[in-house]
Symmetry: C2
Subunit: 382 residues, 2 copies
C-alpha cells in the first residue's frame, strides 16, 4: 500500500507516529532561542536517530551534530553529516572505528576525562597518523562523568598529554544532567548558569596554561531551554526537546501539546469490572521507562489520546506487560473511562522519547493535514 | 574479522553474549520436566526472537511454538516453523495478516476473549475462506486478559459463535502471569495448580455444551517450573526460562548460575571519590527494566560479572543514563569495588531477558570452551 494512502486506521499497530508540524515548531523555537544567545547549535541525534529528523534539526546538512553511539556516527556520516562529536567517553577499543569514520572525511571528535584515555588516544594517534580532535569532559553537576571544573591540574595534565602527543585539543564539553531532576524555572535557569560557569572556568584553566580551547560545548534540553546568558560558550547541545515527552513536560522543558511522538495502539479487550481497557501497546512498544514515577504527575507508561492527539484527560497506561497495555483512569481520579470498543485506536504520549523511539525502527509521519505521509527509518544498536 | 577469531576483548561494546551451554541445559531440563508430566511443550519465542534459539528450544524444527507478535510469526514461518499460536488477543485489523501467514502453510492460531472479537473473526472467515483456529483466552489469576473460568455462559457463547461461523475452536489458553510476583516454591506450585484447574474447568464448560476443546494450553516460566501435576492439560508454554534473568532468579524459577544472557561492556571512566565505575552499557543496552526493584534483592540495572561470567558479588549497575552505566557497590554492603581500569571489560547479568534482548539485534554466542563463536541474529518490532 503506498504511504500516501495509509491512514491511522490502516497502519499495523503498535507503531510510532511523528508529528512533523510539532517537530518543526520545536526545532524552530530552539534555533531562534540559541541564535539569540549568540551560540552555535549542535543538535543531539540520540533521540531521533533518523536522518530525516536530523536534516530538520541541524543548522546545515553537514552538521554540526552530536551522537551517542558510533553506529549513529556511521549512519549519519553515510547521510552526509560531516561535523560530529561522539558524546560518550572514549574506550580504547573504539579508536580504530573512530578513525575509520574520520577517514571518510568526517570531522568526528571524541571526549574523555582521564589520563588513561588520553594516553590511549596518543598511542593511537602515533600508530595511525590520525590526529583526532578531543574535547575534555568536565563535570557540571556531579551527574556522571567528567573532571571537576576546579581541577585545573587534571585538565592541564590531560591537555598537555594530548597536544604533546599529536592529538588536537578541541575544547571542553559538559552536560548538566542533574537538571532532569528539577521542575522549577528559576532552578533550571540557575542550573544553566552553573553549567555555563563551569565550562568557562575549565576553558580558562586550559588557556591559562597556554593550551588551546576553541570549543566550549554545553547542553541538556532543560538547561538549553532555560539559559539566559551564554557568555563564553561557543555551542549548545540538546536532543530530546525536538520530539519531547512526558518526562520533559514534568521538568518544564516542553509543553504536553508540543510532544511530537505518540505510539499508535489498538484496543484488543476489556476487563470491565476492573475498569481496564487492554491495548496491543505494552512495554515493548512504549519502553520500560517509568521516569514520570519520580515526578509530581505519574503518567504510568503513557498518557492516552484520541486519534487527533488530544489527551482523554485522566486516562493513562496504568500497567504494561510485554505486548499488552492496561489502560485505566489515573488513581484518585473520578473521571470516566472513554468508550473504546475492540478495534478502536488510540495514541499514547510516551514518558521518554529516547527510550520509546528505540523500541521501533521507523516513524510514520503525520503531516500538517494530520494525514500519514512519509515513513522515516530510524536506527538502533551500536 | 571472522567470528571464530573474535574474542571477548575484540567485540565492539555494548553487545549481547549468549551462553550456549546454559541455554541447552535450561531447555533440556524443561523438556524433561514437561515430558515427565505428560504434556507437550510449546516454547514461547518472545524472549529469544531468534531462529537459532528456537531450533534448540522447540521439540521439532516445525514447532510447536508461541509468538508475541505477527512479525515473529512471519520470521519463524520463514524459518520453517509450521505450528504457532499468536499469544496476544487478536485485533480485527490483524486478521488479514494472520491469513497471509497461514496461506504459507503455517498452522497459526489466534486467541480472543470477547464476543466482538469472535464476530470479527467469523466475518473474516466468511469473507476470506480461511477457517482459522482460535483458542479462547481464560483468565487464570486476574493478571490481564481472559474470561473468568467460571463464566461458562461467556465461554459457550463465544465458542458457539466461532464454530457456527466457520472458525475452528481449537481450545482454551491461560497464562498465570501473577506467578511473577511470588518467590515461594509452595506458592508457585499452588499457582501452577490454580492455572491447571482453571484451564480444565473452562475446557469442561465447552465440552459440556457439545463444543470441541482439543487443546488445553497453559504456561508461564514460574508455573511451568513448579507444576507437579498437569492432568487435563495438553501443552505448556514458557519462554524466559531458556535464557533466564535476575528477575526470574528472584522468583525462584532459575538459578543465577543458569542465566545464559549477559551484556558485554567496557569501562570508560571512574568517579573514584563516589565509588563509581562508568561503563558504556547504559539503559539503552540493558533496558529500562527495573523489575528487581520490587523483589527482595534489588539488582539495580544488572549484576556485574567478570569475563568468565562470575559475579563480583556486591557489584551492580547502580544507575544508568542512555549510554552510561554507573557501576557501584550495592547500598549497605561494605564490599570493595574491583580494580577495573579504563578499557577493562565486564559482563552484566540483566534484570529481564525479554527487555534487554530487545535492545539488540544479535547474540554473540559463547560456546562450551567459553570462546565467542557464532553470531545469531534476532528480530524486534511488529
Amino acid at each position: 500500500m503506498p504511504n500516501d494512502l495509509q491512514t491511522l486506521e490502516a497502519l499495523q499497530t503498535p507503531c510510532l507516529l511523528l508529528d512533523e508540524v510539532r517537530l518543526n515548531d520545536n526545532v524552530s523555537r530552539m534555533k531562534k532561542h540559541l541564535a539569540g544567545l549568540g551560540v552555535a547549535f549542535r543538535p543531539h541525534l540520540k533521540t531521533a536517530k533518523s536522518l530525516d529528523v536530523a536534516r530538520i534539526a541541524m543548522t546545515s546538512p553537514e552538521g554540526p551534530a552530536m551522537v551517542s553511539t558510533l553506529r549513529e556516527a556511521e549512519y549519519f556520516a553515510g547521510g552526509g553529516v560531516r561535523d560530529m562529536i561522539y558524546g560518550v567517553g572514549i574506550a580504547p577499543g573504539k579508536l580504530a572505528r573512530v578513525s575509520a569514520i574520520r577517514s571518510r572525511g568526517v570531522d568526528l571528535a571524541i571526549i574523555l576525562d582521564s589520563v588513561e584515555q588520553a594516553d590511549a588516544v596518543v598511542a593511537h594517534v602515533r600508530a595511525s597518523g590520525d590526529a583526532m580532535p578531543v574535547l575534555i569532559e568536565v563535570d557540571a553537576d556531579g551527574h556522571r562523568s567528567g573532571i571537576a571544573p576546579s581541577d585545573a591540574a587534571a585538565l592541564v595534565d590531560i591537555g598537555r598529554r594530548l597536544t604533546g602527543g599529536g592529538a588536537v585539543l578541541r575544547g571542553v564539553l559538559l552536560h548538566a544532567g542533574d537538571s532532569y531532576s528539577m521542575n522549577d524555572p528559576s532552578a533550571l535557569t540557575a542550573a544553566a548558569e552553573n553549567e555555563r560557569a563551569a565550562a568557562v572556568k575549565a576553558a580558562e584553566s586550559l588557556r591559562a596554561a597556554g593550551l588551546p580551547c576553541p570549543v566550549v560545548s554545553i547542553g541538556s534540553t532543560p538547561t538549553a531551554r532555560y539559559a539566559r546568558n551564554l557568555d563564553g560558550v561557543t555551542e549548545v547541545r540538546a536532543g530530546v526537546f525536538m520530539i519531547g515527552d512526558l518526562f520533559q513536560a514534568g521538568v518544564g522543558s516542553v509543553a504536553i501539546d508540543d510532544i511530537a511522538l505518540t505510539v499508535l495502539a489498538t484496543v484488543i479487550g476489556h476487563q470491565r469490572a476492573k475498569g481496564w481497557i487492554i491495548t496491543d501497546a505494552g512495554w515493548m512498544a512504549l519502553s520500560r521507562d517509568r521516569g514520570t514515577a519520580r515526578q509530581q504527575v505519574d503518567q504510568g507508561y503513557g498518557l492516552v489520546c484520541d486519534l487527533a492527539g488530544r489527551p482523554y484527560g485522566e486516562v493513562i497506561v496504568a500497567d504494561a506487560n510485554q505486548e499488552h497495555g492496561i489502560v485505566a483512569i489515573r488513581a484518585g481520579s473520578s473521571a470516566a473511562l472513554p468508550d473504546l470498543p475492540v478495534g478502536s485506536r488510540v495514541r499514547i504520549l510516551p514518558n521518554h522519547a529516547c527510550a520509546t523511539g528505540a523500541q521501533h525502527d521507523r516513524y510514520h509521519v503525520l503531516d500538517a493535514r494530520g494525514a500519514v505521509g512519509a515513513v522515516w527509518p530510524r536506527i538502533n544498536g551500536w
